[in-house]
Amino acid sequence: MFQRLKLHVGLWLSQPKPGSADVPFVLGSALGLLLILILPHCVEPYMLSTVRDALVMGLLALSYDLLWGKAGVLTLGHTTFLGLGAYGFAVATVQFGLAPVGAILIGLLCTGMVAAAVGYFLLYAGVRLHFFAIVSMAVLIIAQQLATSWQSVTGGDTGILGIPGLTATFAGHSLDLSSPIGSWYAVAAVVLAIACLTSLACRSHYGKVLAAIATNEWRARACGYHTSFHLLLLFVVSALLAALAGCLMAACSGVVAPDVFSPLLATEVILWVAVGGRGTIGGPVIAAVAFTLLKQRVSSYSTELWPLLLGALFLGCVLFLPDGLRARKAAINLRRFWRAMTARRALSGRAVREEGDNG
């Protein structure tokens, strides 16, 4: 039994030899670690908690990158799982008085079951691509309705207030992580650890299998893979990471309201991943943090400006950065666009001249 398990782990998670392609990963993790340690000494506590909340959104972006970037499953309702995690944590702590660690487990368990059920019926039935995206949006709207109307549990429109911060008790020693600095270290460490783990998992043979399923699912099936199962597994893992982000969000902010199930936020997640670079793990996290901070700055001037700016950014991203923020590719695309524009102008100029000649 043990031998068999070892063989399977060896097959699926075996890593290629380190090479030049791993430089961004190593540099990125080192830089991340440095930032985690330095930032509390550089900025004031209020700013630190703002960045912390943005980093929680980074975890959400990471979970979505795993699903869309690595396996090519597009959903429009990823915040369903963020909300379920947040509500699970809030209900478990406020209504049932559980300790935060237990509440996180409850939140993850509920989300995992919902994701497994939804994913099983959709993915095993062969629902893919935009059909999957539309159904996932319907699930999000159902969840939103449930959160507003099931008042006895979710508190209706007001949501749940007074959620306790993170504390952990291990063998009599209790660790309070609810202060700005404490929660910063907790959140940042969780995000960095998960980013490193997912990067390593995607670097292994299993990551290649996922990439293969994303590019040519039918061919992968002919290689002996039960592709629906692998997609379901990834869907559940991604939902669990989103739920963890939800738990952290609830614990950090102390409130949960039905607007966590917002379709707007679900679209923003797609934008973060698209701009940060699909399948790069680190890119979407950085994009999510940057966009969330930018959103707060812009919203303080005018609340209507943000959706406008978001739309413009999305359009620009589709036009110039179809692969996300990768400097070299972006430059190539810009140049190509510029050439197309100038060529068209030259062509139309020539056409006018020829018309003139004929006339």
């Binding site: 063989l7 699926w12 002996g224």
Partner: protein, 244 residues
């Protein structure tokens, strides 16, 4: 030992009232090598599709190693050792050549709890060791054919179904492929469907002729080539193909 590895009885597949495969009986034994030829639309590709689990038969039964394969999906066929080489361009284009091979081998290896076949050995055999780190999308068509064959080899097949393996290969490559197929036959049964009669002749194997969904002749290539009726079916109106 002589028990057939794969056995099909009264196999039929209809598309909109037309029998693409009509009442085919066949059996493949261990280490058999056979070729199916026939004009366009004879149902060769559909037959390979049904044998590989990609297309469900409309009626009839298909057994592999004594087990009925009815209702089984294509990944279950592959795990049992019925492996199909697709026509040309069906690889994982976004992965490197080596990763294509690793991915192809991993599914079956993990299901059987056996170690992964060494991709470097297969790379040598298919002659792509120089392009191991190249993206599959960058390979020319002929080399993608070799990659497809390599991917099928990584699946540790018991029955290898080759769908037009020589299409797009140069004459020297076709000769190399003939040698490789004879080598593969030491480990598994090989069934090839092919248009290129020169390639079939070079294989020197049992040859079947398919026409309108049925297998109309079974014999050696020489017997088939002598048969007047086959010449009429296969070569059509003129003998323009004969020189081919």
């Amino acid at each position: 030992m002589d028990e057939p590895l794969m056995k099909a009885t009264h196999l039929r597949r209809t598309f909109g009232g037309i029998d693409a495969v009509a009442d085919v009986d066949m059996s493949i034994k261990r280490r058999d090598l056979l070729c199916i030829i026939g004009p366009n639309g004879a149902g060769k590709s559909t037959l390979v599709g049904v044998l590989s689990g990609a297309i469900a038969p409309s009626s009839g039964s298909l057994c592999f190693a004594g087990e009925s394969m009815a209702g089984k999906e294509v990944h279950q066929f592959c795990r049992r050792g019925v492996v199909r080489k697709f026509q040309g361009t069906n690889t994982f284009l976004s992965l490197s050549v080596r990763d294509n091979l690793i991915v192809a081998g991993l599914g079956v290896a993990s299901h059987r709890a056996s170690p992964l076949p060494d991709p470097d050995v297969v790379l040598q055999e298919i002659g792509l060791h120089g392009q191991a780190n190249e993206l599959a999308a960058r390979l020319p068509h002929g080399q993608r054919q070799w990659l497809e064959i390599g991917m099928a080899m990584m699946c540790q097949p018991a029955v290898l179904l080759l769908d037009e393996p020589a299409a797009g290969l140069s004459a020297t490559d076709a000769q190399r492929l003939v040698r490789l197929i004879h080598r593969l036959r030491e480990d598994c049964a090989v069934l090839a469907i092919e248009h290129d009669l020169g390639f079939v002749r070079a294989l020197e194997c049992e040859t079947w002729v398919m026409h309108r969904g049925q297998i109309v002749r079974r014999g050696t290539y020489e017997d088939i080539a002598q048969d007047e009726e086959i010449r009429r079916i296969y070569l059509g109106r003129g003998a323009g193909y004969a020189a081919h």
